[in-house]
């Protein structure tokens, strides 16, 4: 069932008007990113060079940084290392035109929290930013609940209401990941990376098929669907109203 991305109104009520600093030298990319973030109700600011970016990042009280890998003045990774050196632990999403796996690894090692290769879909960027902004607070819970859904991590049991769900190990992991990020849009690439730990782009709609299976087990014939498809972006688990 298609749904659209949650808009400004939803966010405002959640009090998530996060301040985001976009450090990006390419005007076109920056404009699109700024517009997309503004549409979602964030308050983005942009600087175009590495040195300015580092200054602004040090001054302001930011919730999130979007950092281009290749910047004039100062390399993106150098900015990131300087920030982490100053013990500024604001989440950082690194953008890069270098599609290289190794570049990604370097980006993450330098202290980045996520990495996105250009070209990217704006939906993918926003989904990842929101995942960073709303990281699960505690990982210590042993029982997760979303609406009628209950997941017992110790007993490895899943229930929707009184109905027990028979899940394969990977389906269990997938559901756990989605429950921890209830109401967030999760892209295919995010699921593949986070649940399967794979970093390749499959040629077939792998994730869709796996989600389809989970959905068939989760949503009974006359139950409200809990896994929504977000058109062109990915999937979202939400509790039925």
């Amino acid at each position: 069932m298609p749904a659209t991305l949650p808009r400004e109104d939803d966010r405002a009520t959640e009090g998530l008007l996060a301040r985001i600093l976009v450090i990006e030298d390419d005007d076109g990319t920056a404009e699109e990113v700024m517009t997309a973030l503004g549409d979602r109700g964030y308050r983005p600011e942009r600087v175009a060079s590495g040195t300015d970016g580092l200054d602004r990042a040090r001054q302001g009280d930011w919730d999130l940084l979007v950092l281009d890998r290749m910047l004039p003045g100062m390399d993106g990774l150098a900015v990131l290392e300087a920030l982490r050196g100053d013990n500024i632990m604001t989440p950082v999403l690194v953008l890069s035109a270098l599609g290289a796996v190794n570049d990604r690894i370097r980006g993450l090692r330098a202290g980045g929290d996520d990495y996105l290769a250009k070209p990217f879909a704006l939906g993918e960027l926003v989904a990842r930013l929101e995942a960073l902004l709303r990281r699960p607070a505690t990982l210590r819970e042993t029982i997760l609940r979303v609406g009628p859904l209950e997941l017992d991590l110790l007993a490895r049991l899943a229930h929707r209401g009184h109905r027990e769900l028979e899940l394969l190990p990977r389906e269990f992991q997938l559901l756990e990941y989605m429950m921890r990020r209830e109401g967030q849009v999760l892209t295919r690439a995010m699921l593949l990376e986070q649940v399967w730990k794979y970093r390749f782009v499959p040629q077939t709609n792998l994730v869709d098929v796996h989600i389809g299976r989970l959905r068939r087990k989760l949503d009974g014939p006359d139950e409200t669907p809990m896994i929504l498809s977000v058109r062109g972006v990915g999937f979202m688990l939400h509790a039925p109203a």
Binding site: V101, A117, R170, T204, L206, V209, H210, G232
Partner: protein, 492 residues
Amino acid sequence: MRLLELLRAAQFRWALLVAAAFVACTLVLFGFFYWQTCMYVTANIDSAIMEEAHLIAGDPPADGRQDVLAAIGRRLRDDPRRIRLAGLFGPGGDRIAGNVAALPIGLPLDGRAHATLLTRLDASGREQQTVRAVGIRLTSHDVLVIGRDAQEVRWTADIVGRALALGLLPAICLALLAGAWLSLRAQRRIDAMRRQASRIVAGELQERLPIQSTRDPLDRLGVIVNRMLDEIEELVRALAGVGEDIAHEIRTPLTRVRATLERGRDQAGTLGELQELNDRALADLDKSLAIVTALLRIAEIDHERHAAELEVVKLTEIVQEVGELYDPIAEDKGVVLRVETDDATPVVGDRDLLFEAVANLVDNAVKFTPAGGAVEVSLRPGADGPVIRVADTGPGIDPSDRDAVTRRFYRADKSRGTQGVGLGLSLVAAIAKRHGFMLVISVGSGCVVDIVCRAARPMLARHVTSLPGPPELGSPIPVSSVPAPTRHLAAE
């Protein structure tokens, strides 16, 4: 102009040098001849006059002086060439008989031959001569001098000198001519090569350097250069082919995007219609981007020399995970996916890349196998290490196409229209090559693709992180003798 060029040419300088060396050799040789001949002639003269002198002096008769005088007279009689000399001097050095004007000063009276300057005295008058002479004191205390003009030695010198003059000049000319001819010939060949090379530089890559099949160094160099040109031509063509393929593959979705957007702008009546067309355009754009991403990825795997994530990889896990990942897809399609793992030998490699390779093979296999078919993924021991095999019951790959499928964008015609970018096998080939593994494509009941791995050496397994680069990956034999890792086609 041509002459100047000739003089400048290295070959001509070389010819001159050879000619000079030739002259020097000839001179030395002639000198040696001259010296040896003179020695020989002198020795002959010496032994003759010494023998004669001793003969006269050695057997003293009762009235010695008369016999000596007679012998001298005999000696001097028939001498039309005026080369014989003989003289008898009293104990005080006064001349008694013979044609020697005075006892030569400095001639040792030791019965041996010496070069001496003396004055000849005969009917024609006095004449200074350089001669070979023997002085000997007789028992009567007289001094006997027997000599012979050394003009034979001079004649020899003259003959040798003339021969030298007559022979050397033509020889020098000959050497220069030969040098000029050789250098002209070489110059002509180099000119021809230069012309061809300029044409090649100007872009006529099909041209080759002229070869004369003489197997001389120039020819051999030409052969090597031509072989190099073959390689380059093939590479350039392949590259151009890839470029065209890329352009074509990307143009197709882009053309659709353009048409869709145009239609949306002109004809969409409602926001919903516009959005729908927009989404379609976005999907096509994503397809183009996927092609670009895949190409960049292959290029990265091909060229990146330092693998970041080398580790000991358990192929069993990879094969089983891929099986698990693709099982639902196969099931949805009505294809049976069987996984068998029969070898736990670890290999050294990049886990993510190897996973991607196996996933791509299974992806392809499931994609090309019609409903009711089966895909088998197996891991079995091979000669050098484990072999990952992905076999399907799909249409298979024609033997003539098997080499081509690992090329970028190649898709056998029958697979056109099936979803996916035609880059899957090229990617697998690149990954295999990077690991020093072999990719073997053969035919079973459908298509059979093997990744022939090499087992990790225990030593390597312990020091994985210090491995410098991919070619050394777990190689049990020196890198230079590793068989060509990709595009190896097994016999049917």
